[in-house]
């Protein structure tokens, strides 16, 4: 490759006016510019808008996705209970309340494990975790800081395997978990933390 006169680069980068170039260098600048103009003006093919929107509609209509969304997104639920069932419900609630704490612990499936997220964000108003396990959606796994010491925690059951995740602080700042040992760069140029969940029942 033959290096070209540095003034050509300077003119193309707007560092010097092209009028300052001798005619032979100006011709090279014009050649490169006309090449770029040709590439810019060429037809770029068919629109993909319909294809993209159809795929989004299909995703939205998927019954599995709708069920997953319903189960993970917070929403108000109204229960109408027949009088005859209300006594049974009250008795069940009393039983659940009286059960020892261990009994109400997380229930694990065969290929699931417990993930504990701990992060220090002093002064934050809210912290949540998003990742490949909740489709990177906010509003599904909040962390708690009950004693107000700036250390936020959440314990959740996740499928065994590797999961990418980040913390979302105050609904706007996306921050990787710097205490994680593993990171991976995503398509958006960020470093996601990686968590390996081991199955409890191996």
């Amino acid at each position: 490759m033959n290096p070209i006169d540095s003034r050509i680069h300077q003119a193309l980068d707007g560092e010097i006016p092209r009028e300052a170039l001798p005619p032979e260098l100006r011709r090279v600048v014009e050649r490169l510019e006309s090449t770029a103009a040709l590439l810019a003006a060429a037809p770029e093919g068919r629109s993909v808008a319909d294809r993209v929107l159809a795929r989004l509609h299909r995703q939205a209509r998927s019954p599995v996705r709708r069920l997953a969304r319903w189960l993970t997104a917070p929403h108000p639920v109204t229960l109408r209970i027949r009088p005859v069932w209300s006594l049974a419900l009250a008795a069940t609630l009393v039983l659940l309340t009286l059960l020892p704490e261990e009994r109400s612990a997380l229930v694990l499936g065969e290929h699931e494990g417990i993930a504990q997220f701990v992060a220090r964000f002093p002064g934050a108003h809210s912290v949540q975790v998003v990742g490949s396990f909740n489709d990177w959606r906010t509003g599904t796994i909040p962390l708690e800081d009950r004693d107000g010491d700036g250390v936020w925690r959440a314990v959740v059951v996740l499928p065994a395997g590797a999961h990418e995740y980040m913390f979302v602080v105050d609904d706007e700042r996306w921050v990787p978990d710097y205490s994680s040992n593993r990171f991976v760069e995503d398509d958006f140029g960020r470093e996601n933390s990686v968590l390996i969940v081991q199955p409890v029942k191996g």
Binding site: V48, F188, G189
Partner: protein, 182 residues
């Protein structure tokens, strides 16, 4: 910068995040022609470019909440497409560009100038295809998409001096390839 009509990028992003899926159609229509042009030049084929852009836009929709600065939506979208193109090129055995679909064919009714333009475009596309993927990407972002080096840094994740060097080398390689073909 180009002057646009309609809602701002930040407004459109807010509408989509508020549940208005149709607003994403506005985003797609605003940026798809530039994204398709960019991907076509980098990948060297319109079919592969359409696949890369469509996949990228679906991913962008699903991750839109992570677009931390919606005023920079354009560079964020280009970044996703650029990464998708890199993955696509890495999957190819040789990494070189194959012109997997024919260049535009001039209509017989077109005049002589149009025919000449098609021939010139084919020549330029072949010359561009001889550049390495990094140089091709740098040249297209700078001179075809008209980005500043700052915007290119946001798209590629590279440092500005690195990008400047790449653009310089790309210009030199492209001129050489054009000379060889003329």
């Amino acid at each position: 910068m180009d002057v646009r009509e309609g809602p701002s990028d930040a407004e459109m992003v807010a509408r989509v995040l508020g549940g208005d899926r149709e607003a994403f159609g506005l985003i797609v229509r605003r940026y798809e022609s530039g994204l398709l042009r960019f991907a076509t030049r980098v990948l060297g084929g319109r079919d592969a470019a359409a696949d890369a852009v469509a996949e990228s836009l679906v991913r962008a929709y699903r991750h839109l909440a992570s677009c931390r600065d919606p005023t920079r939506l354009r560079t964020w979208l280009y970044r996703i497409v650029a990464n998708r193109c890199k993955s696509h090129l890495a999957r190819r055995a040789t990494g070189d560009v194959s012109l997997d679909d024919a260049p535009p064919i001039a209509d017989p009714a077109d005049n002589e100038a149009a025919l000449e333009r098609v021939e010139q475009l084919a020549l330029v596309e072949q010359a561009l295809a001889t550049l390495s993927p990094d140089k091709r990407e740098a040249f297209v972002l700078k001179h075809v998409e008209g980005m500043s080096y700052q915007e290119m840094a946001a798209v590629t994740g590279e440092r500005i001096p690195t990008l400047k060097m790449r653009v310089h080398r790309a210009r030199e390689a492209l001129l050489k390839a054009l000379e060889e073909r003329s």
